[in-house]
Subunit: 410 residues, 2 copies
Amino acid sequence: MALLVSPLAPASFPKLPAIKGVRIASHAAGIRYQGRSDVFLAELAPSTTVGGVFTKSLTAGAPVEYCKAHLKRGHARVLVVNSGNSNTFTGRKGTSVVAATVKAAAKAFGCEPHEVFVSSTGVIGELPPIDKVLAAIPDAQAKLSEDAWMEAAEAIMTTDTFPKIATRTAKIDGVAVRLNGICKGSGMIAPDMATMLAYVFTDALLSTPVVQALLAMGVNKSLNCVTIDGDTSTSDTALMFATGQSSHRLVSSTSDPRLRDFAEKLDDLLIDLSKQLAKDGEGASKFVEIKLKGATNDKAARNIAMSIANSPLVKTAIAGEDANWGRIVMAVGKAGERANRDKLSIAIGGVVITKNGEPVENYDETPVLTHMKGREILIEVDVGIALGKATVWTCDLTHGYIDINGSYRT
Amino acid sequence: MALLVSPLAPASFPKLPAIKGVRIASHAAGIRYQGRSDVFLAELAPSTTVGGVFTKSLTAGAPVEYCKAHLKRGHARVLVVNSGNSNTFTGRKGTSVVAATVKAAAKAFGCEPHEVFVSSTGVIGELPPIDKVLAAIPDAQAKLSEDAWMEAAEAIMTTDTFPKIATRTAKIDGVAVRLNGICKGSGMIAPDMATMLAYVFTDALLSTPVVQALLAMGVNKSLNCVTIDGDTSTSDTALMFATGQSSHRLVSSTSDPRLRDFAEKLDDLLIDLSKQLAKDGEGASKFVEIKLKGATNDKAARNIAMSIANSPLVKTAIAGEDANWGRIVMAVGKAGERANRDKLSIAIGGVVITKNGEPVENYDETPVLTHMKGREILIEVDVGIALGKATVWTCDLTHGYIDINGSYRT
């Protein structure tokens, strides 16, 4: 089934710069897809530190388990990602495929197995063709370059309809450091053919605990705030690699004030990637931003915002361009977090619809309906309890979603 | 928008018997719909005890709040239900509509206000036309009879495509007692035009605590195990009325062995109604039963089963007749309950597909695909931890759901 490019895809893509200490390549290994690349390989300088955040799924795949185990050692030399087959729910045989991949990559790059990180995304329950995976390593290695970022983002796509890339520059000690990010979606989503994978590369010189902490904090405000259908993949992975090739002095504490600009730019880059994920949600015709405030705390705010973002009724109403705020009330109510019904206020497209628990007097739906016809929908909710707030991103639920997911495997 | 009758609707409906101490009527009050009844009134004998279970939504409507308050007194004389307007999120004005309805019904039937129970289902955020609601009480009162059960089930319908009724006979002390149930859906669902309402009437002589306990236990295994889209209405209500007009001796303890047959028949009746709800889920083309075992405890089992039942990916795969067990693995993993990935086994239509964490050898998909083409889909999952089990019911997610919910209000 050919997927049309999302109507929310960016009009143009940025050109990602080289990052000192990172060489990348993509390769068509024919794991499942024909006529496109399906392997992304990255070679990292020996000084590279790494942090990671993974799916909370209790049926996570073997590649995730390997990454988690390797992360404890804190150093990375090689990243091998394949699309087309997630190597999940493949039992002991699947684990041995990962072990063989790790071993082959470590040998090819002259490093330790624990310095190799692997991700797989694609169908569940089918064993990856080990010969093709192993053959891809030297093939891709021969093609390593500093600037094939767009091709890398394309190699990891599954149901994505456009590659997702972003870049930022931050200053540490007055020295400009680079951050490049690539990811694929289309959300927390479709484990049949999709999964969220995100990789950030920087030349900053950061200790392993700093890389880990920055990534975890950033993901919490970005990738963890995107939802397409509320489903959680068995392979979701975010990894950040810091090659340490920049000339600034080492940052080894997250409370170091020199980190401020870097942390801000990292968050910004991750939010950029997150919005791209929502804009490429399966069947998406509208991008939705939900800003929630007034909750008990930030976590409660995110839970309520996610309840709205995951509600099939809210999402179908948006697809139908219906300013159906009653469904937002419902989604707030079912979130299980404290909300004051009699103080609840809801605005769509900046127009306040309800205030203090009832529709505003002489509510005029006209400007809201105009907003609903646009491509980007803004929903603001105040639940009237305290100061907790959160922003999450999603897309509408359309016939396209049913088309894609009701007939994918066959 | 005219809704076609669900392809899963029953071929015929049972004839519900009279219940001593219950007189019922339906009436076309013109609250929102034209050309159909929209008010259901029940008069209950002075001896009637009552139990209730309500939505957990924190934005519940005024009728739910009234029922909860009245329930504490434990006796009922009148039930007034309207469809077309849920009187939810209507602020203080909405509360005064309920108060006026209760007052008028208490006056008309010569009882106390706390003996009046009310439910409303329909659009959120619009004030019900109080004149029409009040006028409906004497009009319906004039039509009270013992056998208008089918008409009552029709009067409370919103997006339902068929009325939902069930009846059972149980024995207490060797005396036959009746149980009649009516409900409407289509699930936990569409608060715009739907909500789950269920009413059970019996002539059994039961103390208020017994009625409450039996209903709560029964609902936990039935109505709380149905899901259409995971959304929770602001008005969900289940009430059981026991008129005490049967000739057996009072049952005032839930541990009384004389209750055994009654409790069994009540559970059975509630499960019957629950399956009808799933079969009338918005856009449903297939009924799905999910039997989960091997969880830490029954609650964990229900959570995992619900995670499968609410997964848009599982539901769209079923709509597409795709035996996509990988999505079931995903849904088990995201439930957040303990599951042993390496012991997980999944069967569809009685055919074991995975065992001990991987696909069974020489798995033949043919009989499973035949099963997927049927109207009733059975999914059995063993998560391999302990003895917790649960059964839940749902339907598939089709283009019909998007049609209904993407364009309902307009």
